[in-house]
């Protein structure tokens, strides 16, 4: 018998995760698919980890509205789901008169968007961030800006969704829609590489591929998503400590190359913005690395390239959707709609920055759209908005560490030495509601392998633990799913 879902969600980035979680509150059968071997692998996996205040979004755009609404929801989300979030405030630092004028413009935009900001002097900026370029003459401070752990937020929201009954299927790629033979333009499900699934509503949260998904439904043929690649450096936190979030004065296409602290304590430098043809191309390049380094020097000249411990690139799904608000000439807006020309689709698109910041509001908007379309939303009595935290060894005091180790000796065995990630934490993630079954999945959940040795020490040990806990051979353990296995064969088996 074919199972019929009420909702099928395509894509497990931050937007898919907050949407799945928001819908899990109601008595609905929900299927959630992701083409990769884990959730949180696309645009959500590699970005600046900033919850933007919303002062720089174009006033009147959907982006501005969602950013501002979304920003306000993060405190509660973090409190319920137990992931790292801090309303740290953010700064835009200006050098010289031209840039100072640009700050005034930004401030005016913020006022229009309802986001309070404050212009502070260069001296005050230097007091708050002593390592900043002494040439900085003035700065814009946005107190509502913040920092999050995007991996932690996505995984926690997803886990809460699964705890509340959402069925998550990984390694499942959308291929086409299934249509009602009796009612043209009515979607009844999806065809995937893992078979057909039937559902009354399909939510397109496919991130970089949202254009392809909507085109399969015959929607918005002129809408395209361009992958805009951004490269980043991660600095050794033992060597560099920047305490603030520092943006340069933004350009037309991006917020610029920032130097920011992260909730993990490592300073992050980047991104550049390069439009590329291939949506899988997360190469770091010599040119890009030079570009971000030059950009970073403008904000913090004292950075030393020797202190770089990691380089990575992420892709922003940049869309070209016109803003629907009359009189607003803007062509990079979010799409959040139930289109009239097809039945059964909630269509999202153009989820570039500030989509992370906006995600909690986008999820709410999806629920509202479905309610407006006549979906019965009955809250489940069993719905639990809380996702309990699991112990994170490195965040504990020595006393708490001692107590944890006494309770479970596996928390006494440190597997990743740079980040002090213990076997207890790794095992807990392998057996979590969304099991971590690859090295990278464990990395996103525990931060193992993200330190200065880049997994050189832990990798063989983690492969061993994964194999043991999953009851499989080490040869099958992979970095990020099929085709990325670490090992080829046993020794002494050369043919």
């Amino acid at each position: 018998m074919k199972k019929h879902y009420e909702v099928i969600i395509i894509g497990a980035g931050i937007v898919g995760a907050t949407t799945a979680r928001a819908l899990s509150r109601y008595a609905l059968d929900i299927l959630w698919i992701e083409k990769e071997a884990d959730i949180c692998t696309g645009a959500t996996a590699a970005n600046s980890a900033i919850v933007h205040g919303g002062y720089d979004a174009v006033p009147g755009s959907l982006k501005a509205a969602m950013n501002v609404q979304g920003n306000a929801l993060w405190d509660q989300l973090a409190a319920e789901l137990h992931f790292a979030f801090a309303r740290s405030g953010t700064y835009v630092a200006a050098i010289g008169a031209d840039e100072a004028c640009a700050l005034e413009d930004l401030k005016a935009r913020g006022d229009l968007n309802g986001v309070p900001t404050e212009i502070i002097s260069g001296a005050e900026m230097r007091r708050r961030e002593p390592q900043i370029n002494p040439a900085v003459s003035t700065a814009l401070y946005c107190p509502s800006g913040g920092l999050c752990d995007p991996w932690g937020a996505t995984i926690a929201a997803a886990e809460n969704a699964v705890m509340n009954g959402v069925e998550l299927r990984l390694n499942t790629a959308f291929e086409d829609f299934l249509w009602d033979p009796d009612a043209p333009r009515r979607i009844v499900g999806i065809h995937t590489n893992q078979g057909d699934f039937y559902g009354r509503w399909v939510v397109n949260a496919a991130g970089l591929y949202a254009d392809a998904v909507m085109h399969q439904a015959g929607l918005r043929p002129e809408f395209t998503i361009t992958a805009r690649r951004g490269e980043y450096y991660v600095m050794d936190r033992a060597k560099v400590q920047i305490g603030t979030v520092l943006f340069p004065v933004p350009s037309k296409i991006s917020k610029g190359i920032l130097v920011t602290t992260t909730l993990h304590g490592n300073t992050l430098v980047g991104p550049n913005a390069e439009e590329i043809a291939n949506k899988e191309d997360v190469d770091v390049t010599a040119k890009g690395m030079r570009e971000i380094w030059d950009g970073a020097q403008k904000l913090v000249p004292g950075l030393n390239r020797r202190d770089v411990i990691a380089v990575f690139a992420g892709l922003r799904p940049a869309g070209n959707a016109p803003c629907l608000t009359p009189g607003v000439d803007y062509h990079k807006d979010f799409i959040i709609e139930i289109p009239e020309s097809v039945q059964g689709l909630v269509n999202l698109g153009g989820m570039e920055s500030p989509a992370l910041s906006a995600a909690p509001a986008i999820a709410q908007r999806v629920v509202e759209l479905l309610a407006d379309a006549g979906m019965t939303l009955q809250e489940k009595p069993t719905w639990n908005p809380l996702r309990p935290a699991r112990p994170v060894f490195r965040h504990l005091t020595h006393e708490q560490q001692a107590a944890l180790v006494a309770q479970d000796p596996r928390y006494g065995r440190v597997i990743c030495r740079c980040e002090s990630v213990t076997e207890g934490e790794i095992v807990a993630e392998i057996h979590a509601p969304i099991p971590a079954t690859t090295y990278d999945a464990l990395k996103r959940r525990t931060w193992l392998g993200t330190g200065r040795c880049m997994g050189g020490f832990d990798m063989p040990r983690v492969v061993d633990i994964l194999a043991r806990e999953l009851g499989v051979a080490p040869l099958t353990i992979s970095k990020k799913g099929r085709g990325s296995e670490f090992l080829f064969r046993r020794t002494k088996e050369a043919s």
């Binding site: 690395m289 001692a402 080490p474 088996e493 043919s495």
Partner: protein
Amino acid sequence: MNKRLKTKYDVIVIGAGPGGLAAAIEAKKAGAADVLMIDRDLELGGILLQCIHNGFGVETFKEDLTGPSYAQRFIHDALTVGIEYWLDAMVLDVTPNHQVYVTGSQGGFRVVEGTAIVLAMGCRERTRAQIQLPGPRPAGVYTAGTAQRWVNVEGYVPGKNFVILGSGDIGMIMARRLTFEGAKVERVLEVMPYLTGLSRNYVQCLLDFDIQLQLRHTVKRIIGRNRVEAIEAAAVDEKWQTIPGSEEIIPCDTLLLSVGLIPENELSQKAGVALDPITGGPYVDEGFQTSLPGVFAAGNVVHVYDLVDWVTRAGQVAGRRAAQYAQCECVKEATTIPTAAGENVRYVVPHRVNPETLTTEEVMLQMRVTQPMEAAVRVEVYDGDTLITRKTERYARPGEMVSITLKGKDYDAVRQAQTLAVRVVRKE
């Protein structure tokens, strides 16, 4: 693990590799009442246990041993003299007043105190990020040491076709080891115009197996989304910029990195030990005492050695001094003479020398040269214009440590010196 761990020891040694083992044994022999060695692995011996090739112990034992055999001699001695040890345990913190915070799967979480501490954490490998290799991040990019652990300890081969970037010793050793395992090593690329590892490893691991070494070449780009599919190699000019037109795609499934080692000093830093930005290790005196009284450093944690025998010798000195410190628990106010790196010398260890030491023992100054010199050279120690001592070597190469020993006869000159500047110059 010794079930009856005490809360206080004369000497605590962090790390049970060759440096730590030598320090612990020597500390005990020099009269330390109790010595505790802590290591994160399941067995004593450190990285030596995965170095199953020979070439160890030629200086120390006049024998050509494998890594595990070399380690075993010291493990045997450690057990004989009664060193206590705690394995599968990680030191989380060392405080300036010698409290050591440790967690282990057995023994739980504890704080132990050492009257003297010997830091012997060794070194770690430089990673892809540190050389900022362009490309995506597929599986199949490993440091040579990680691959070595997989092959020699875990029993798995991590690839079929390899390219090795860097002519460091572990990379060359692995080129041979992987060839034994039926894998194909397509190429070894070295960005420098000279070998960075030992010449003997080039002969025994690459030449003897027809593995091509290309100097002044690097990896311009990694190719492959899930698993490495190829690398793009390119020649570099004098400024390490890739030369357009020299690119070559080399199909392979694994890229091993042997691009240098970094002393592992995050714990030292937490304890407040001052570090030399050039070596990456602590500033030490001739007894390997760091800037913190009673905290010593042994072996690769100070600077990266190319022979284990020298690590052992350094560990012995550090261990003996740690025992002496523990027994009198006094800080001797000594006048020390700073050393300095002169012509063609990148750094000198130790950073300062107490001349009085020369009345009872010799002091070896250890250094790395900046540029290779393939003709006879003189290694000279000067105080200003005054030559204190010198010796001749057949050549000097960055991949091979250079040393010169100060002896009793040099006492007067050293005592009166302002600086002990070492230079390595062509022999006229």
